[in-house]
Symmetry: D3
Subunit: 238 residues, 6 copies
Amino acid sequence: MTERRMLVVGAHSADFVWRAAGAIAAHTARGGRARVVALSYGERGESGELWKEPAQTVENVKRIRHDEAAAAAKAVGAGFDCFDLGDYPLGLDDAAVTRLADLMREFEPHVVLTHPERDPFNPDHPVAHAAVARARLLSSGAGVASAFATTPPSEFLVFEPHQPELCGFVPDTFLDITSVMDAKREAMSAMAAQRYLHEYYGQRAEHRANHARKVSGDKGVRFAEAFQRMTPKVVDAL
Amino acid sequence: MTERRMLVVGAHSADFVWRAAGAIAAHTARGGRARVVALSYGERGESGELWKEPAQTVENVKRIRHDEAAAAAKAVGAGFDCFDLGDYPLGLDDAAVTRLADLMREFEPHVVLTHPERDPFNPDHPVAHAAVARARLLSSGAGVASAFATTPPSEFLVFEPHQPELCGFVPDTFLDITSVMDAKREAMSAMAAQRYLHEYYGQRAEHRANHARKVSGDKGVRFAEAFQRMTPKVVDAL
Amino acid sequence: MTERRMLVVGAHSADFVWRAAGAIAAHTARGGRARVVALSYGERGESGELWKEPAQTVENVKRIRHDEAAAAAKAVGAGFDCFDLGDYPLGLDDAAVTRLADLMREFEPHVVLTHPERDPFNPDHPVAHAAVARARLLSSGAGVASAFATTPPSEFLVFEPHQPELCGFVPDTFLDITSVMDAKREAMSAMAAQRYLHEYYGQRAEHRANHARKVSGDKGVRFAEAFQRMTPKVVDAL
Amino acid sequence: MTERRMLVVGAHSADFVWRAAGAIAAHTARGGRARVVALSYGERGESGELWKEPAQTVENVKRIRHDEAAAAAKAVGAGFDCFDLGDYPLGLDDAAVTRLADLMREFEPHVVLTHPERDPFNPDHPVAHAAVARARLLSSGAGVASAFATTPPSEFLVFEPHQPELCGFVPDTFLDITSVMDAKREAMSAMAAQRYLHEYYGQRAEHRANHARKVSGDKGVRFAEAFQRMTPKVVDAL
Amino acid sequence: MTERRMLVVGAHSADFVWRAAGAIAAHTARGGRARVVALSYGERGESGELWKEPAQTVENVKRIRHDEAAAAAKAVGAGFDCFDLGDYPLGLDDAAVTRLADLMREFEPHVVLTHPERDPFNPDHPVAHAAVARARLLSSGAGVASAFATTPPSEFLVFEPHQPELCGFVPDTFLDITSVMDAKREAMSAMAAQRYLHEYYGQRAEHRANHARKVSGDKGVRFAEAFQRMTPKVVDAL
Amino acid sequence: MTERRMLVVGAHSADFVWRAAGAIAAHTARGGRARVVALSYGERGESGELWKEPAQTVENVKRIRHDEAAAAAKAVGAGFDCFDLGDYPLGLDDAAVTRLADLMREFEPHVVLTHPERDPFNPDHPVAHAAVARARLLSSGAGVASAFATTPPSEFLVFEPHQPELCGFVPDTFLDITSVMDAKREAMSAMAAQRYLHEYYGQRAEHRANHARKVSGDKGVRFAEAFQRMTPKVVDAL
């Protein structure tokens, strides 16, 4: 069997940590390859702590954010790239979609993770979703022979937003991350600028594990992440 | 690993054949155990061909329907039981729910399949859904220690109704039944009274395979069945 | 072409007047036959004005309500029957569903109108909907030969509730009742006990006509009623 | 202004504690009156810890559950009653609905809280919702003069279920319970049999406060509960 | 307590009058400040009456529309500005969103009103909604310290569209405008070019009051407007 | 009565064939006029078979696709035009919307057909839907006198997508195409490059006929197409 590849795309450089670091760690722990793409550094909307430094510059904020995200990605075994498109608002044009589609053709991910389609509390997350969904279709084509290079259609899931019900997020997949929770904690620790979220998402992982235990009866799930599939899963047994 | 058990509950004796015979065959082909329960024989609503016989009796119709369903179940490796509650309308009272819950406690299914919650074209299918959903919760309890015997919560999916969009059915799982399509055909052949559906559901399996190929890029899927999960799936990798 | 038959079922004796009197009048004006069935007289929940009379009795309230509804039905060319099942709460058991189904087998309606499935402001309307939906399926069968007498499946629509958005009512059909608005007004006038609704539903008919004009560009629509189909319409041209 | 009255109805004796104790405490702290009704003691489904005692009896379990719930209610300033209808399944018949409606006519609540309409993980919660919704309509009538005593329509909200997204719960109201969190903690402490939920719902209150801060910008919210209105709110300013 | 500020944004200069003039009047009557922004004059799509004048010019149409809207705004105590972006289609680019966001940073509204997200009968209303929603998020930021000036997140509601059910509008708030209905009528009278809507929205206010009375039991509500919240409300008591 | 005009807009040149050729044929068979507009030739995403030819050029692919589509349109009695905007991605800018709107003002269609609003398997179909919906509103105006030429609002329906449930497609109209199925087959035969779809959509027409027979009881429906209305239908009888 070939190596399984996972692509995680976030609007800002830290998004993947809170929402999918466990999924990445579980994936790489099984020998899969994972790649994280941030569309921006979140240098304006999410980096207020850094801007409290006198004489702070945008280049320096981006550098710090890059280092943090790269360290977090490394903690869960993934590579990290940033498109540096700017945030609040995220500057997504056709060229950026093409770049994403080209990356998908090259990396050929088996599974793609990104933000949900709606988020009434964030202007950039839905833009990121739309770009990923569009790039995914442009890179995989219509499922018939086409005039351009295509890649097989990936599984497509969205990760948990901050206020799930208000984003229309209804989880259909609970991922047991018990065995890789230490790696997720390490990834979270790398995000020094957003410390207030470490505790929040640590507790969230326990809550989702509680849900997963109720759903499955599996008492061994202590930490979990929640996901929602955008397209059906093809299986060979129920 | 313990043997995996599947329970399929239909309102009428033939429902499981068109909608889940492939799932059963795929399950038993892998060594799983499967049990089919029909809540009624469909002796009034679905057996018109049999009633064209002069001097037909309800006992005889039920006997024929039992033999057909048992043969179809056998073709896909499953046992068959009928609660014989009557159809059009399906006579489901608390005792029948208790009987279903007791059966679940005894059989301890890992996965349960039944009709979707809504069906604007059939008065019995939603009643069957409600009974199965309720029995499942009564048999598995609240996920905490309780005063009565419980069974671990099963995976709970609904199979494809006849007019999917109008029943609110949105498939999230396509099951590849290519390797067991012969068994499904044999099961369908056992249902002599509803021959007009053999071709319909044979073509439907091809269409769902077409969808599954588009979703996954897997060219090997020639026949498929569609399902929708009622509760999230707990997994250990995406 | 055979005479077209319409069946209108309301929870209380006056429901059909505000919500479907125009539809009935338009139907009978074209030579169709119409029958109104009230499941109750609304003698408790809707007849407060009558109960202000000293020494009022339930028999007398029902008699007055019957006479009013029969007069209103007559004004739009329909017959009127009441099942007299009691209101607040509407007492609907299996026997009442059977009675409705038998009536459908006998009358063989081409179109059936009743309340929407949900109404957070009325305990009886959803009960009426469920009974009509169920009776309709039991009387028409599964669309195949069956063991009992069946009638062809009718078109099934719900009429406008009092607070449409909160009942999940989304109209897909605006009926032009301009030519029969006088008959609807006469029917409304027959409901002496609920005078406060005459003006309300007179204005409502103007508003729905405004909507219908915007939808169609047809400036001739001055009064309209709104309906939502529960099952698709089969047509031979778009 | 008259004293404001709140009625909280749970399927099992402990439900109100985790989901609405803060709302009750905030209500009584402002001089309002609050009454908690449990439809059952949850003696079968939620009391497993108690049943681990040798020679345990159902009477004793109910007594303990009563004392715990009464103490919890007292901690937030409310009275407590139990209909003792049995759980798993909750035994709700017409008489119980009538009893609830009578209680509403007598207590005349301004606001009613109960479970959401759906819960794919609990067989009793939706039954409780349906009963409360029905009793509320039967006690308030059609908004016109009627043949029976009525009470003004109450505000009607549902409290947070255990797996919100999967119950269709979309909060539209975050209640700041910061000033009464100690009382909620005391109420939770009274529920000795379900200790594993104290931490869970303590954290949940912090998460909902985080959400409330994001929604409102009010940094003072440290603990919150979430609710969803079933009917619109009438206000005199936005 | 500081003065409460309301911002109302319409696609065309008259939108605020029919849909929110009562809300504005109720707001300013209590000492609040209100500002109306029209994104266009509706000079093409809504001003047909004016164009019937021979030798009419677009400048003159805009001037008349400005004067009417300013007079209407004044009647309910609000200031009026127009972005003059053109209508049918509304010309909304990133600069216009930035201008709106800047205005929000400067005015710091506590509550923002605009059109619903969908309207199958108007090409400009959804565009206006998207711009307001986006500007609101860009001006309030992520709820954490950021690199740019932010304003606290406002309450965000949509006002009633012309065909509510077909726009997905489900009111959760009925505003009693009885005491300010005269001001709303005066505002409507200022819109000479759209006289046919005066009667329509006068009746609509009576209908919404009827709904509000049914919801609340408050007999004093004679006129009302309907709104739907886009984000939850944070409260300190239910 | 004036001749009835139908406009069918597809993202790619073959879309109309599989999804609406029967509707067009039924329309023209009754004396109506029909016009097909393709926004692109689908020269990249749908023409892989043609690209297998050595030395193939994009001009030649477009020419072949044009000839096929024109022949298919002719087979069902319609004219064919292509905007040639490019596919994967479909290049739709404001000028293209204006061109569509101008075409609608000129052709004045009574009914417009296009793709559904959502399609998680195709990047171009939703773009086409949005353009058609927008052009339709821009060409018909607000239903009042306006500053520009308008055309009466057309009936607006979407045709069946390839994976209906996953596109949110819920049919409300089944069109009996039995009498014109030969013409549809001829149109399908003209699409040489997509032969694998002939059988698929031939069977689909039988399945939709099965559904239509169940809905209506009309045994004569042997082939059907499914549609969903985007705006209500105005009728003068039910």
